[in-house]
Chain length 283, copies 2
């Protein structure tokens, strides 16, 4: 199977995201605020994974787009809240001033709220098989609640050197959304049992992604990162590098990636993940 | 039909709310924050209306409880965000210090997020007929998005003397949730057409409730209000009393109540609404 290039996908998908929000509300100020955030860009890695898997499962484009938009809309809403002064207090996101810096905190809080709730509407309006839609909405709701729990734990837990809590934050805050990306297309295809297996594998991929991100946060410059580097250490926030050094972290990633590739049941998707992991680790 | 007393209902329902949140997450800090907010109390008027209507429609107790919890959980989440310094900056809610004053803004933002997303889980786990559940979740999602749009408009619109925008804020921010309370039980009973009619009547009741609330905000004392009185005028926020005086406002309420009572298709529920309107207006 020829792998869809991420850059190519991103260009198409960004148009979909913009059109989704423009059609979602008649409030122009709300649209402007959200469009600002979407236009700052983003890797769109989560919807990309969904699209690749949906293609392999021969699910229609609408299913891929709907699942992808749901995930990215929520993810964007959760980043908007994450950047707020009371949380990470970040002035930069994807190289641009954060939403609250430009539009004010009140707009950031409520635009975030809108994006956190909106995904269910996207799923309801999708062409996902009606018989399977309730299971997909259920998986989605559990996923989104777990991500919020992860963020809650992230800002409230005190002992940032505690390996167990650190792992829980990463699993909930990052792993869970990737779990959904791996499992939801399989659920839409009606393969319930494989969906459970994929949920676990997606969570593992999320951990790899998070550790790689923590490494980047420590080693990158502001220009390459697009946000303030070294924030984790500065804010004493949970980073994998609180409990292991760089060499150990890279070893953990290698081991997890090997296991993941062995276990993935879809060949084309495995190629995609292998390719992505090489890129993530080399950065 | 003998009308269920609101005070009696509230005592039972508060126990349900507490048990819902205690079972919703293993994060004790999150539970503590939400329990704090629930324990500050609240009229529980929305779940009460749902319960009365569900009783008249002979829907099971689980349906009434689930719909009621969904609405009240969301409403509580939205009040938590509403009270934040960047929005209404309110130190008191229901006579108690607001959540962010006690637990910090970061906890208030994320606990609010959790409560805004949680209702879909409550609906999914309810005993609402599976055939009708998608329609109920759809109505719920549209309702919650509209409420957030209303709050967004509330904090972003400049001309607080503009009657049209003021009406839109009230309709979206307050009317919509009452619309759900009137319509959702009817939808659960499978009466789709009457549900549309009830949606409109519930929105009207919401407007009556909002105007009465605006009157209270201007005339009450801190002790009877349980929150800071006169905030609307102080913050130049949309209040019905920006565009009409007290006498006019009371006349509008009277007229709307009369029309509402004439149009309500359920006799027992009409008695409940009549009784409530008398209380609301006399305060």
């Amino acid at each position: 199977m020829k792998t869809l290039p991420l850059d190519h996908f991103r260009t198409q998908f960004d148009q979909l995201l913009l059109s989704e929000i423009r059609n979602s509300t008649s409030d122009k100020d709300l649209v402007n605020a959200v469009v600002y955030t979407f236009e700052a860009g983003g890797k769109r890695l989560r919807p990309y994974l969904i699209r690749c898997l949906c293609d392999e499962l021969s699910l229609g484009r609408n299913v891929a787009d709907s699942l992808g938009k749901a995930v990215e809309v929520f993810h964007t809403g959760s980043l908007i809240h994450d950047d707020l002064p009371a949380l990470d207090n970040d002035d930069l996101r994807r190289g641009q001033p954060t939403l609250h810096k430009v539009f004010g905190e009140e707009v950031a809080i409520l635009a975030g709220d809108f994006l956190l709730v909106h995904p269910v509407r996207i799923l309801l309006r999708s062409s996902i098989d009606r018989e399977r839609l309730l299971s997909v909405i259920e998986l989605w709701t559990e996923t989104s609640l777990t991500v919020i729990e992860g963020e809650f734990l992230d800002v409230t837990f005190q002992d940032t050197k505690n390996e167990k809590t650190l792992e829980e934050v990463h699993k909930k805050k990052t792993g869970e959304l990737f779990g959904f990306c791996f499992a939801a297309p399989v659920l839409c295809a009606g393969e319930k049992e494989t969906a459970s297996q994929m949920l676990a594998l997606g969570r593992d991929f999320g951990i790899v992604f998070q550790i790689a991100d923590d490494i980047k946060d420590m080693t990158a410059t502001r220009a390459t990162l697009g946000k303030t580097p070294g924030k984790d250490a500065l804010l004493d926030r949970p980073s994998a590098l609180n409990v292991m050094d760089l060499t150990q972290a890279r070893k953990v990633i290698d081991k997890k990636v090997r296991r993941l590739l062995e276990a993935l049941p879809y060949e084309g998707f495995r190629d995609v993940i292998e390719h992505l992991c090489k890129q993530i680790v080399s950065k």
